[in-house]
């Protein structure tokens, strides 16, 4: 037998999309279709509604994963990563193609699945374990270890509805992490929890990988991808566009696939339905002369602007950006209502079209390539919209402090500091 544990061939998945009002098929639709299918016997069952309502979430995906390999999967929101994982973990069926899986698949698609708020921590461990496919004896054997890992021992007989979100998450992850499948599918679980807990999760993940199990790891966190995976595939608009050893794939992903020229336009279909009533239009980067630019100079200020529509008034809205390095480390976060006065003035932002604009001072960024992520949210209420790779741009270091030494400077910032040298 060969050593491939996952073989995916021409996998495709088609979804029917619809607006909220007609997303449920009614019985009448079914009956009408049933009859018309009886009358037109040759009619193919696939064409249920007009094809404009059908989209391919995945198309023509083929790859193989050898035993013991940790494969990274990256892609923008809506690139099809989750759909791929859902197919591989048998939650949904492919529309075309096939996937061959050798061994048990455990998924951490979302931790805490099936947790019931009224049940105690102990009860939920058993229930959740069973849902994830563990045998009762297996859960009993690992029970102490799970409780220990979760650090909620004191509250283990308290209903989880009284848990803090951190405790809830730790317990949920603890159960999932003690599942011992041959293939582990992980999606973004590391994005939550405090730093200490994240460190623990990462440790658990590398243990799994070191134990010779195969891991599929989806993340937006490039440093996590770089640390944990050897090979990475890049998905874009449902297609596999790149497959290479991780460092190359990350470079490709961070550099490519962004609409060039310092501008990112959002097509209506790229905006998820949950974003309503917030509709992003465009993010632009302008150099100090006001030209839309892909490269700006370290020694000159530049500005960025986000245009968006609000279909309804939103209370407490903040629209802003995260600036990240190519490796996915955050440089800074800034929102348009960071100023308390602005926050007061725009307590409730009425419906309409807006532009949030800000100036980024000169002598801030080191040379290199950066990524802007966009976030529109109301604090503790709702995150309307989030695009973690909205736009990439370059910073040119010409004329920056220390440029007379031809060496790369460490760190993402390159401030011009007023050094004084005095003899003492």
């Amino acid at each position: 037998m060969n050593n491939i544990v996952i073989r995916v061939e021409n996998l495709g998945k088609q979804y029917r999309i619809g607006t909220a009002t007609n997303s449920y098929r009614t019985l009448r639709d079914g009956i009408v279709e049933g009859f018309s299918r009886l009358i037109h016997r040759q009619g193919k069952p696939v064409e249920r509604k007009s094809s404009s309502n059908l989209i391919w979430a995945l198309q023509d995906i083929s790859f193989e994963v050898p035993r013991g390999k940790v494969l990274g999967i990256v892609g923008r929101n809506g690139a099809g990563k989750s759909t791929l994982l859902k197919i591989l973990s048998r939650v949904t069926e492919p529309t075309l193609g096939q996937a061959e899986i050798h061994g048990r698949v455990g998924s951490l698609l979302e931790v805490g699945t099936g947790f019931h708020p009224e049940l105690t921590g102990r009860e939920n461990i058993y229930l959740n374990g069973a849902i994830l496919g563990m045998k009762r004896s297996e859960i009993e054997r690992k029970y102490a270890e799970i409780v220990d890992f979760s650090e909620v021992e004191q509250f283990i007989d308290t209903p989880v509805k009284r848990y803090s979100s951190g405790m809830y998450l730790r317990l949920a992850f603890a159960v999932a992490a003690h599942l011992e499948p041959e293939i582990l599918v992980v999606d973004e679980v590391l994005a939550v929890g405090d730093a200490e807990f994240q460190r623990k999760c990462m440790g658990k993940m590398s243990d799994v990988a070191q134990a010779g199990r195969t891991v599929l790891f989806v993340s937006h966190n490039m440093s996590a991808i770089l640390r944990l995976t050897e090979e990475t595939i890049v998905l874009d608009k449902g297609r596999l566009v790149y497959s290479a050893p991780t460092p190359q794939a990350v470079d490709y992903y961070m550099a490519a696939g962004f609409t060039g020229a310092g501008e990112r336009l959002w097509q209506p279909e790229e905006v998820p339905a949950e974003a309503a009533p917030f509709y992003p239009l465009v993010l632009r980067l302008r150099d100090h002369r006001g030209q839309v630019a892909d490269t700006i100079r370290s020694t000159e200020s530049f500005s960025l602007e986000i245009d968006y529509d609000l279909a309804q008034p939103i209370t407490g809205l903040r629209v802003g950006v995260y600036l990240l390095t190519m490796r996915g480390e955050y440089v800074f976060t800034s929102f348009d209502t960071d100023d308390p006065q602005a926050f007061e003035q725009y307590g409730t932002r009425p419906a309409g079209r807006y532009r949030s604009r800000c100036e980024i001072p000169a002598d801030l960024l080191n040379e290199g390539r950066y990524v802007l992520a966009v976030n529109a949210s109301s604090f503790r209420i709702k995150r309307y919209f989030w695009d973690d790779h909205a736009l990439a741009f370059s910073v040119d270091g010409a004329g920056a402090p220390g440029k007379h030494w031809p060496e790369p400077r460490l760190g993402p910032v390159r401030p011009a500091l007023a050094w004084k040298i005095i003899e003492i």
């Binding site: 037998m1 899986i101 998924s107 069973a130 849902i131 496919g133």
Partner: protein, 290 residues
Amino acid sequence: MTTRPSSRSREEILLLRPTRGLAALNLRDLWVYRELVYFLTWRDLKVRYKQTALGAAWAVIQPVIQMVIYTLLFGGVAQFSSEGVPYPIFNFAALLPWGLFAKALGDAGRSLVNNRNMITKVYFPRLVIPVSSVLGGLVDFGIAFLVFIAITVYYHFAPSAGFDFVFRPAMLILPLFILLALVTALGVSLWFSAMNVTYRDVGHILPFLTQVWFFITPIVYSSSEVAEKWRMVYALNPMTGVVEGFRWALLGTQATPGPVLLVSTIVALALLVSGLFYFRNMERSFADEI
């Protein structure tokens, strides 16, 4: 080719691809996940009476109140015949399997949709959900059965009613009728729960359907009231066979169920098998449509 530990050659190879035509039932998968059935049943029971003042007493109160109402209304006001047995016992013997069935019917609409977050996140045989929800009804059935025994004990010490409970060998067949009730309940539950995923209309039909079904089943009246020529049509309702069987086994009022039971059993089995196939076929799109 290298040699590998033999344990690896035993590992399962799973082929994921679009199913075409009728999906195989794959009941073995359900067996593998039998512990999940147990845990979900246990969860539903555990959660059902949380934060209620009376707790599990509700499982007793509900059927008793039902019985009292029907006794007053149909036994008292309408003077329905109860085949020489005190009306409360006559009625309660039928309410036992009906409770099991009605719960399955009521839960069917909701069970899959309520567990939506599990269905869209994790793989497990979806059959686990309706199966555990029907089995959960078995516990209520058990409690109601204790109530039934209590009522018969009451009549034993209050002989003014002219009824005393005697042991009959037919009672030993009761488990078979319970099984028939389960088969019917599961069959109906499979159909409606799967249908509800795509057609939320089901949620609106069910309460109404339950009511109609209640009256076409001999619960408040005796099936002997039904004209002879309609008996076979009447038997198409599998609950008729179940209720007649219960009364026959427990009270001995009914004649030994013959053709009626046969027809009901066939219909019940047909419901279950067709329900299984329908469910398995709809199952492919559950995660996408729910």
